[in-house]
């Protein structure tokens, strides 16, 4: 199952990986440039999952898109993780907005 945004930019999808039986969740976030996507990546990477077991996620940047992949045992844990990640992501995007586009120093 996948959900596409009204602007057809962000894609989200959930699947059950047949091999591992784990739930996988993908999120692609478009940024105006690859620089900004990378900045977001670096801000969000250090966050470890509070509950080590049962959930893991991977962040990567391709072009100007930040991609996040979750792998979880249970839907509830997945939901909590995605929720808190979105909060962090919102904070990052709002901060970037406040400071304006990246400048070369």
């Amino acid at each position: 199952m996948s959900m596409f945004s009204p602007f057809n930019t962000t894609a989200m999808a959930t699947e059950t990986n047949q091999e591992t039986g784990k739930l996988e969740f993908f999120l692609d976030v478009p940024f105006p440039s690859s620089r900004e996507a990378t900045m977001a990546l670096r801000s969000l990477s250090p966050d470890r999952e509070p509950r080590r077991g049962g959930i893991s996620k991977q962040l990567s940047v391709s072009g100007s898109t930040l991609s996040v992949r979750w792998s979880a045992d249970e839907a509830r844990i997945l939901r909590v993780s995605v929720n808190s990640f979105l909060d962090h992501l919102s904070l990052v995007v709002e901060t970037m907005e406040l400071f304006g586009p990246p400048v070369d120093l």
Binding site: S5, T16, V29, A75, R79, N83, L86, S90, P101
Partner: protein, 417 residues
């Protein structure tokens, strides 16, 4: 608890967070010091003696523009020499286009289309703009929109403020004079045009014959601008000229006869003052004033007839009908006032773009590109061959119908303070 594919419902909290994020991200992509709405068009103008380029968005906002005017060069030579104009276009076009792109911080890849003037104009000048544009669109693989110079002038006002079709437009410049009803982006009814010279050309030539360039305050001005400046201090009633085409009740124009009258008067005054041609006469301001007044009067009368024709034939809306004045000569404030008198007397709203958009520029071409892009008309693939046309009539010619109507004008006092 296992969740099967397709059973996972997205919790509303996640959905709403995603929506907020999307709005934030989308705003980020479109906001900034220059907010732009979707598609961008590069407009290029080289029909006569100005090389212009501009990058514009669909709302008519100019993101960046550049202009190189050859006015100074041609003033020194006393007129436009086509080969000189061509050489100047060739030498400046790349720089002008690059400046427009740089100032708008837009890369060629981000453009939706390139629009360029292909008709009418000086063949050698048009050729430069067209060949540059074709190379550009083929190199960057962009759609190409050929633009009619007069159509671009006619629609300029729509770039600056909302104006609905149909409207009456008087276009007066160094190369053209015409009265038309604009009914759509590529739908025009031609009511009248000049039978010989264009008023801008007449004013320039009179200025040259009067040697106005020799006056310090006129040194940097074009002929028409010099006439306007001197006329301010002149007595327009001292010399009387006959308004052209008094016997022909149509909407066409003629300026050659007037110029002849002016030339004969100048010769007479030179004899009276005992000076050679090339010396500035003492009565130069009065001659300038009389010439300008007669040009304005002729334009006003033809326009008045055009309005009456339109009303009779229901060519204009009953709600807020509009007269648009555009082209280089429209920068002349005296002529604007004369048209304002006509507009007021006939119940029309007069609209005139600011001077910098009345003369040739890249922005009006970009805007015409935007209008065509929005309607999806006249957009060509880059590989299509396009030729320039030095002569290109505007719209559908109904000058004969106007002549047949033989409308007599009620008198209006053209009194300009």
């Amino acid at each position: 608890f296992p969740a099967h594919r397709g059973n996972m419902a997205f919790p509303t909290m996640i959905q709403s967070k995603v929506r907020i994020l999307l709005r934030l991200l989308w705003c980020k992509q479109t906001a900034g010091s220059k907010a732009f709405r979707s598609r961008l068009v590069l407009g290029i103008e080289t029909s006569c003696d100005e090389t212009g380029a501009a990058v514009m968005d669909e709302s008519g906002a100019i993101l960046g523009e550049s202009l190189h005017s050859q006015k100074e060069v041609h003033l020194r030579t006393g007129g436009i020499i086509p080969t000189v104009a061509q050489a100047l276009h060739r030498g400046n076009i790349e720089r002008v286009v690059q400046e427009a792109l740089d100032r708008s911080a837009v890369a060629p890849a981000q453009l939706a289309a390139v629009a360029a003037t292909v008709k009418p104009g000086l063949a050698l000048s048009l050729a430069v703009g067209l060949s540059f544009s074709q190379r550009f669109v083929r190199h960057h693989n962009k759609p190409f929109i050929p633009v009619h110079h007069m159509e671009a002038h006619a629609l300029t006002v729509r770039m600056l403020q909302p104006l609905h079709f149909p409207f009456l437009v008087l276009l007066v410049s160094g190369g053209h004079a015409l009265l038309a009803v604009a009914r759509g982006v590529d739908d025009f009814l031609l009511l009248g045009r000049t039978l010989d010279e264009a008023p801008g050309d007449t004013l320039d030539k009179v200025a040259r014959r009067l040697s106005l360039r020799k006056l310090p305050r006129c040194a940097a001005l074009s002929g028409g601008q010099a006439i306007e400046l001197l006329a301010q201090d002149g007595d327009r009633k001292r010399f009387r000229f006959r308004t052209p085409m008094g016997q022909t009740p149509d909407c066409c124009f003629s300026f050659a006869g007037l110029r002849n009258q002016v030339t004969l008067l100048i010769q007479k005054q030179e004899a009276e003052e005992g000076v050679e041609e090339g010396t500035v006469l003492s009565c130069v301001s009065d001659i300038a004033a009389a010439t300008q007044h007669t040009v304005a009067s002729h334009l006003a009368k033809r326009t008045h007839r055009a309005v009456l024709f339109c009303r009779t034939n229901r060519l204009l809306p009953s709600q807020n009908p509009t007269l648009v004045l555009s082209g280089g000569v429209a920068s002349n404030q005296y002529i604007r006032k004369a048209l304002a008198v006509v507009a007021e007397a006939t119940g029309l709203q007069l609209l005139c773009p600011p001077s910098r958009f009345c003369t040739d520029n890249g922005a009006m071409v970009a805007w015409n590109g935007v209008e065509r892009l929005r309607e999806g008309i006249g957009i060509l693939a880059p590989e299509v061959e396009v030729s320039y046309e030095p002569r290109a009539p505007l719209g559908v010619d109904i000058t004969a119908e106007v002549r047949a109507a033989a409308i007599r004008l009620p008198s209006i006092r053209i009194k300009i303070p």
